[in-house]
Assembly symmetry: C2
Homo-oligomer: 325 residues x 2
């Protein structure tokens, strides 16, 4: 039986949710299992929930394979999660082997942002686009690269760490051990940090209200809510973030000369408030030929981008990239 | 007749020299024509000299095609030199068409640093390396990318402009119109600029002697000579350059997770004095998995890297990348 008649399981293991889907090779979702990750319970409990979610989906279905996406650095050749910012306690966890043995189905693992690029390229905004960079703006900044129509992950599968481009050689420390990284300026964490700094300096802002007066509850989301409410400080914070977002995008445009950059992740919900000024920076500072060639847009697949990317990964591994499209 | 029996012409049109070679498909140079570019005489005169050099080489030879490398931004699809820092007065010059019509041979054009990557990948330090970044350190910084065994140039052929990564968001203006670009910190121009700054501040240094007392004659080369002579200031200037070189390399390592980064161009002559401290920065600041995976070495093909890269371009275009190896 051709794989194009079979279904595929895609699992996105996030910090708060496990989103598992059963989809056809065109990316149509036929069933879904959504569970809380409860990552603090550790690897065994989370793996148990991943297995449970997959079991619910594949019962009675003709399944070609399982794709899994997890944030962080992985040895994708061996299917091992080296470490993940979302999954405390996971170190060199052989997730692929465990799932493959449980279900006796081909199983593949990939970084979540690489899967997002793959998902958008196969089913979303990036169909028929040869050169595409996906920028995942969340608590950090992750990246996924499609180069000449193929997913690019580098020699150890660890490429695409665009959030750790140094954009300010004199910048503050980053949790990666370097300093001045893009994600210290343009991530959700950076937005929240700067908002707290303003609040602690006594600057009057509606962010305080949206965070219930508690600086520990300030997130990029509360800043965005305050900005939508017309708060000047919140607006300024988002403008600042957009500027730094633009600086990093200039680098990606000059290096990759891509046709498309897709912005996804939690901060993408800020939409044009974040994107328009960032695009302006690219128009001003990137090489003209590359700035003209690139479209910078919001990703399309929303919360399913990781799971659908995992579906696309299975299709790619099992049938090459051209079949089933 | 198979192309592997034929010879190929590779031409590197530099700011000072036109280096044209006739080579076999293994990169063995059978004949050479080296001429002064005399770029100030303008496009017509230079094109005349390029034609003359090629004519001398192909007389009586069975030639499969001609490859040409020129620094700068090109429309490689149409074979047009959009602009070149080495060739004043060249704007949208259809060099490929002119050469193709003159010799009635397939002719291909590419950016010099992309050709350097291709040349090293086919004939030099990068044979059998799938993921490779070539860093050309000259008056500016150029780049060439091999991704998954294929040359990567992006959507308009303008990718690889790694010298215009912003590494200091508060940095000084760059001639590209942006600011804080890598090449404002780690190019030959940057070395010379900082040396002049020290001299103008009255700091005693042997650089002055090597430049004949004339700040206009200070180059990266005079700074290197002074450093070899034990001059402290010259040493410090090269250490500073190496540090910034390392910062940009961190970005390339995190983004591409390459197996190999090759350092070429005029500054590569500084060897380990420049390279060792830069590698140290990569070891300290790049992601461990990628830092461990990468070798950072000097390019091998020296002054012929552009011409041999142009030969490799013809082989790639005419036979695909796998034949003739």
């Amino acid at each position: 039986m051709s794989v194009t008649k079979q279904l595929i399981v895609g699992v996105d293991v996030g910090g708060s949710k496990i989103n598992a889907v059963l989809a056809d090779p065109d990316g149509n979702i036929e069933a879904r299992s959504l569970k809380d990750t409860l990552a603090h319970e550790g690897p065994d409990a989370v793996i148990g929930r991943i297995i449970e979610a997959i079991s619910q989906l594949i019962s009675g279905a003709d399944v070609a394979g399982i794709g899994i996406g997890v944030a962080g650095a992985h040895d994708t050749q061996r299917g091992v999660i080296t470490s993940s910012p979302n999954l405390p306690g996971w170190h060199n966890t052989p997730l692929c082997d465990i799932i493959q043995r449980e279900f006796n189905l081909p199983t593949y693992l990939q970084n979540d942002c690489t899967l997002a690029a793959l998902g958008e390229h196969r089913f979303g905004a990036g169909v028929d686009v040869d050169n595409l960079v996906y920028v995942g703006l969340g608590t950090g900044i992750g990246g996924g690269i499609i180069a000449d129509g193929q997913v690019y992950t580098g020699t150890s599968g660890a490429g695409g760490e665009i959030g750790h481009m140094i954009i300010d050689v004199n910048g503050p420390p980053c949790k990666c051990g370097s300093s001045g990284c893009w994600e210290t300026y343009a991530s959700g964490t950076a937005v929240a940090r700067e908002a707290v700094r303003q609040m602690e300096a006594g600057v009057p802002t509606a962010i305080r209200r949206y965070a219930g007066g508690d600086v520990n509850k300030v997130t990029a989301q509360t800043v965005f809510q305050a900005a939508q409410d017309g708060d000047y400080i919140a607006h300024e914070l988002i403008s600042r973030t957009a500027y730094y977002l633009g600086v990093g995008l200039v680098n990606l445009v000059n290096i990759f000369n891509p046709e498309l950059i897709l912005i996804g992740g939690g901060l993408a919900k800020m939409g044009s408030l974040l994107l328009d000024p960032a695009i302006e920076v690219v128009r001003e500072r990137a090489f003209e030929i590359s700035a003209k060639a690139v479209r910078i847009e919001l990703a399309q697949l929303g919360d399913d981008v990781g799971a659908l990317g995992a579906v696309a990964l299975v299709l790619q591994k099992k049938c090459g990239t051209d079949e089933g499209e």
